[in-house]
């Protein structure tokens, strides 16, 4: 289709539309409701919690400052937990050994075979 043909069709369509008349009346507040629909379509929908998390996951975690802080916190937390666990276990072992020392020396506490 070339430009002349297209222009001819436009003219014909324009003429037809100018001749077209309708008796039907618009519903009340037609324009208002059209604008409201346009506004609703333009307002972005609020994101779901999952989307927020996914966005955070994809954008915040890879930030160097966050990644380094996260690893330092886990490093310190893991170390502190390991230290605390070892401290408790060592205390328990020492208590056992001290009791054992007394049992070995005291004939009234020595376990019989």
């Amino acid at each position: 289709m070339n430009t002349n043909e297209s222009s001819d069709e436009d003219k014909a369509l324009r003429k037809l539309l100018n001749e077209w008349r309708t008796e039907a009346s618009l519903p009340p507040r037609f324009q208002d409701s059209v604008w409201q629909r346009i506004e609703r379509a333009q307002t972005p929908a609020s994101p779901s919690m999952l989307q927020v998390i996914a966005h955070w996951f994809a954008t915040v975690i890879p930030r160097p400052a966050f990644a380094v802080s996260y690893m330092i916190v886990l490093l310190a937390g893991g170390g502190a937990f390991g230290w605390e666990h070892a401290r408790k276990e060592t205390t328990h072992i020492k208590d056992d050994l001290s009791e054992r020392y007394v049992r070995v020396l005291d004939p009234y506490q020595t376990p019989r075979e």
Partner: protein, 153 residues
């Protein structure tokens, strides 16, 4: 997304590795004590900060004491068995039961004397401050007010 996941997993791995390293390093002295030939003596050495020479002397005293302790154990078991035999079916005290009870009491005081002598010897092997601490601790353990009331303390 993949990068985020990698960072999360790496962080968890670092946390677990830190836990494992610190735990095993802090536990190694206690584990070494448990693995030693005489764990209770290894504990004594560590608890009362004994030098190698002091520890050697304490170990010698300990080794010399044990045969006496075993002999006492044997006598206690013998006397307990004897008393049980006398008590079986008894409805009243008899001169034999009285005598067995006296012997048991004498045996107990003999045991306590023997232990106390050993504790004093051990404490004198230690530096004075540690020796006092050792005596206070062991007296509390062996000569506490409820001694023998619950079988074990």
């Amino acid at each position: 997304m993949k990068r985020s996941l990698f960072i999360l997993v790496l962080g968890l791995f670092i946390g677990a590795a830190a836990y494992g390293c610190i735990y095993s390093v802090c536990m190694s002295p206690a584990r070494a004590m448990e693995r030693s030939q005489r764990p209770e003596l290894a504990w004594l050495k560590e608890e009362f900060h004994l030098s190698d020479a002091e520890f050697k002397r304490v170990s010698e005293l300990h080794a010399a004491y044990l045969p006496h302790c075993r002999e006492m154990c044997r006598k206690i078991d013998e006397q307990n068995a004897q008393l049980q035999k006398l008590l079986a079916g008894a409805t009243n005290t008899t001169p034999e039961i009285d005598a067995a009870l006296v012997e048991i009491a004498q045996l107990r005081s003999g045991c306590q004397r023997m232990m106390l002598r050993h504790f004093f010897e051990v404490s004198q092997t230690m530096p004075p401050e540690q020796g006092s601490r050792y005596l206070a601790w062991v007296k509390g353990k062996v000569f506490a007010a409820d001694y023998g009331m619950n079988g074990q303390k």
